[in-house]
């Protein structure tokens, strides 16, 4: 353990703040998909770098936790590395890159490929929590629409997609209806991940700048909005992973040289590495 523990409270935030956030989390879990306002704190990182997710993680962490942090599926990007380092230093918790070993995973824009299990918590970083914002800029109005379950507008957005592009072109932050009640923005995960929103794990969403927390409790029904004649499809690039050969994982397109050569590789680095290790073994 580093000296950090003498300088910071456990997991950086003071206990009062964590209690405030936990109350918001409990309310969010009690009303799946509902956006609970909370008094977001200034964090030692800029907005857009996961301040909402970090606060939720801080409120959930206990010393026994093993933390994993991913950014677009990868454990080794700047954002993931720095947040992991932040909690290693301020909470002294163990960290891991293995999905299966983690008890708490903070993520930006992905759900891990390895199926989550009971007892795990997945914390999402959310830039814009309001799924109706695209068509209705007034917060007072969107809140009323949620309250009255007035969601025609959400389908107008999908209608516009089809009218303009011939198909629902929304490929990330694809809106879902949670537990048959609230329409929710699952954060900018690819729509490929939407089916994984129905999970045994607890899923918590934190939006720092917008000061909102929402949640999907384990085993909650999550339906991606669509039309009968344009059904939802969890699509991904039609290639196998160039490194591990997986055909069931979400892929990133990587440009490999100046002449436009490219390859498709698993966006989930842990999943890819695990498969390659197995193959090698």
């Amino acid at each position: 353990m580093t000296d950090g523990m003498q300088d910071y409270n456990f997991a950086y935030l003071d206990e009062e703040t964590k209690r405030m956030i936990r109350r918001a989390l409990l309310k969010a879990l009690a009303i799946p998909g509902y956006q609970v306002p909370f008094a977001s704190r200034e964090m030692p990182m800029p907005y857009g770098w996961g301040t909402g997710g970090v606060q939720v993680t801080a409120a959930c962490l206990v010393p026994e936790d093993r933390l994993k942090v991913i950014d677009q599926g990868a454990d080794d990007t700047t954002n993931a590395v720095s947040i992991r380092g932040f909690f290693a230093r301020t909470a002294g918790v163990a960290t891991t890159e293995r999905t299966a070993e983690a008890t708490l995973i903070q993520t930006r824009h992905r759900i891990p490929e390895t199926p989550l299990r009971e007892g795990q918590i997945l914390v999402y970083q959310v830039p814009i929590p309001e799924p109706l914002r695209f068509l209705e800029p007034r917060e007072t109005e969107t809140r009323r629409m949620h309250a009255l379950e007035d969601y025609g507008l959400m389908h107008v957005k999908l209608y516009e997609d089809i009218a303009r592009h011939g198909a629902i072109s929304t490929s990330y932050a694809y809106p879902v209806k949670v537990a048959g009640r609230y329409v929710m923005d699952p954060s900018p995960i690819p729509k490929f991940d939407n089916p994984k929103l129905e999970s045994p794990a607890i899923q918590l969403f934190g939006a720092g700048r917008e000061q909102r927390i929402y949640a999907v409790p384990p085993y909650t029904r999550v339906v991606s909005l669509d039309f009968e004649d344009h059904p939802f499809e969890a699509s991904k690039p039609d290639h196998p992973c160039a490194l591990c050969g997986a055909t069931d994982s979400y892929l990133d397109e990587v440009i490999t040289d100046d002449t436009g050569a490219r390859m498709f590789v698993c966006s989930d680095t842990d999943y890819c590495a695990g498969r390659r290790a197995e193959g090698a073994a």
């Binding site: 068509l135 007035d150 507008l153 107008v156 516009e160 089809i162 009218a163 039309f227 009968e228």
Partner: protein, 257 residues
């Protein structure tokens, strides 16, 4: 048969100033009622109260949704029920189409919204109905995917009407529906509205200061002054044989209609 709408003693004040006071009338299925009066006479306030945009201080607005449910006081309805009414059984045509349209959504999406709001989930069927309605308001189906910002004022107003009528409402509120349009465009719109009102058996409340509009559209007329109703009756009777001093002044003040 019973009245579709029963309005009783509706009063709305803005502080000490009277918006409208003690207004009451019955509107029967298929009837079109005009409300005329000069600016500030309270006609728009009254329309706002009737359509659920404003909450009256006192009075009742009973609406009979049919199906044997009996008349319900709209002012006492839970907001969810009132909103459902507003997007299914009722419609509101604003004077300025920008207030009644989503300007960043295509014409088809604008018309389809009410259908989707009540659960339509078949894209092809929604589009077919939107196309049908664009035709009924004389907008070329080829413009279905254009945004209303690319439309002329008359087209925008017709689009607003299609957007409102697609859900097959029974009661339509219109606030100066022909205001701000060229005279030639007005005639076309009036003709369209008249046909739709007759074919769909619509009831309507139309607020306007244009007596020619009510002469051609409204069965009955209500004349308002300083927030109060000063005269009611058959449209042609009120216009041709006005009884109240203010109605006489109003009728004699305009060029022959």
């Amino acid at each position: 048969m019973s009245p579709l709408l029963q309005v009783e003693g509706v009063t709305k004040r803005y502080g000490a100033r009277i918006g409208c006071e003690g207004v009451g009338f019955d509107l029967w299925p298929g009837e079109v009622m005009g409300i005329v009066g000069e600016s500030g006479s309270g006609k728009s306030t009254l329309l706002g109260c009737l359509a659920g945009h404003l909450t009256p201080d006192t009075g009742r607005i009973l609406y009979d949704a049919g199906a044997g449910s009996g008349a319900q006081d709209v002012t006492a309805m839970p907001e969810a029920a009132r909103r459902r009414l507003l997007r299914t059984d009722w419609a509101f045509v604003h004077q300025n189409p920008r207030d009644g349209l989503r300007m960043n959504v295509s014409a088809g999406g604008n018309v389809g919204e009410r259908l989707m709001a009540v659960g339509a989930r078949n894209y092809g069927a929604i589009r077919a109905r939107a196309g049908d309605w664009l035709g009924r308001v004389e907008i070329d189906g080829a413009r279905m995917d254009d945004r209303p910002s690319a439309f002329s004022g008359g087209m925008q107003q017709r689009l607003q009407i299609a957007r409102n009528l697609v859900s097959g409402p029974r009661l339509v509120f219109m606030d100066e529906p022909t205001g701000g349009l060229d005279v030639s465009v007005q005639a076309r719109l009036l003709d369209l509205l008249r046909g739709l009102v007759r074919d769909m058996g619509l009831s309507a409340v139309i607020v306007t200061h244009d007596l020619a509009v009510v002469r051609l559209l409204a069965d009955r007329l209500m004349v308002m002054k300083s927030g109060r109703v000063v005269e009611t009756g058959l449209t042609d009777q009120v216009l041709d044989d006005p009884q109240h001093p203010y109605s006489q002044l109003l009728v004699s003040s305009v060029l022959q209609v």
